[in-house]
C-alpha cells in the first residue's frame, strides 16, 4: 500500500528530502514511524512527536489507508 510522507524541519534534513512515497505494510502511524525512523535514522522517540494524516492530527493507532498523506510532527518552535 502506498502512503505519502511529508517531512519538516530536522526530520527533512535527516531524511534528505521533504517528501516521499513509500510502499509500506504499516497499518498504523506507529508502525510506519518505526519503519521510516529506521530507514532515515530519525532520533526522535515517537512519544516526542505528533502525527497528522491528510492534514489533521490523529492518534498513533489510526488505521492507514492507501494514498494517505502522513506527517510526523516534531516539537514545534514558532512564535
Amino acid at each position: 500500500m502506498n502512503v505519502k510522507l511529508l517531512y519538516f524541519a530536522s526530520l527533512a534534513d535527516r531524511a534528505g528530502r521533504t517528501e516521499e512515497t513509500r510502499d509500506s505494510a504499516a497499518r498504523t502511524p506507529r508502525e510506519l514511524y518505526v519503519e521510516v525512523a529506521a530507514a532515515h535514522g530519525f532520533a526522535f522517540a515517537a512519544e516526542r512527536l505528533r502525527v497528522a494524516v491528510n492534514g489533521a492530527f490523529v492518534g498513533w493507532d489510526h488505521a492507514l489507508a492507501a494514498g494517505d498523506e502522513v506527517v510526523f510532527v516534531p516539537p514545534v518552535s514558532g512564535g
Binding site: F44, R48, L49, G55, P75, V76, G78, G79
Partner: protein
C-alpha cells in the same frame, strides 16, 4: 465563508493593516503581542532565521486556537498572523491582536493565544548563527501533546 482569524504570511506583517479587523463598537480595549527576531538565543549570536510551516495543519490549528479563545474569554475579536520564510533580526515574526469590552480579558486572551500558538501550531524555527552554523529548534523542555 467563515472568517479566517489565523494566517501565515510570506511578507512583512503590517500591524496597521491587521488591527482594524478587531474593530467593534462594544470594545473598549485592544491588547496585542508582537514577537520579534532577537539577535541571541541560548547564549549564541543569531544572524537571521527561517520559519517553516506545515501550512494545511498550521492554518487549521491556528484557526482552532482562535476559535477556542473566543469561546473561553469574553472578547469581541481576535486575530493572529505568523511569518514564514527568512527573517532578519528585528523583524516582526508573529502578531496577536484581541479586542474586548475591558482590558483584563483582552490581556488574558492575548497571552493565552500566543502561548497556545507556540505550543501547538506546526511551525519550526531554523536559527542561523553568526558563526555560520544553523539548527532547527525542537524544544524538549515541555511535553509534546496530542496524538
Amino acid at each position: 465563508m467563515t472568517t479566517r482569524r489565523f494566517r501565515l504570511s510570506d511578507d512583512r506583517i503590517d500591524v496597521a493593516t491587521e488591527r482594524p479587523a478587531l474593530d467593534h463598537a462594544a470594545a473598549g480595549a485592544y491588547a496585542a503581542f508582537e514577537g520579534w527576531v532577537r539577535d541571541h538565543n541560548d547564549g549564541r549570536s543569531v544572524r537571521q532565521l527561517d520559519y517553516q510551516a506545515y501550512p494545511a495543519l498550521a492554518l487549521a490549528e491556528g484557526e482552532a486556537i482562535l476559535a477556542e479563545a473566543l469561546a473561553r474569554f469574553r472578547v469581541r475579536e481576535a486575530r493572529c498572523v505568523h511569518r514564514v520564510g527568512r527573517l532578519a533580526v528585528g523583524d516582526l515574526a508573529v502578531w496577536v491582536g484581541v479586542s474586548a469590552d475591558h482590558r483584563g480579558e483582552a490581556f488574558d486572551a492575548c497571552r493565552w493565544i500566543i502561548d497556545e500558538v507556540k505550543r501547538r501550531v506546526p511551525i519550526w524555527k531554523n536559527e542561523h548563527y553568526v558563526d555560520g552554523e544553523s539548527g532547527w529548534l525542537h524544544p524538549d523542555n515541555r511535553p509534546v501533546e496530542g496524538a
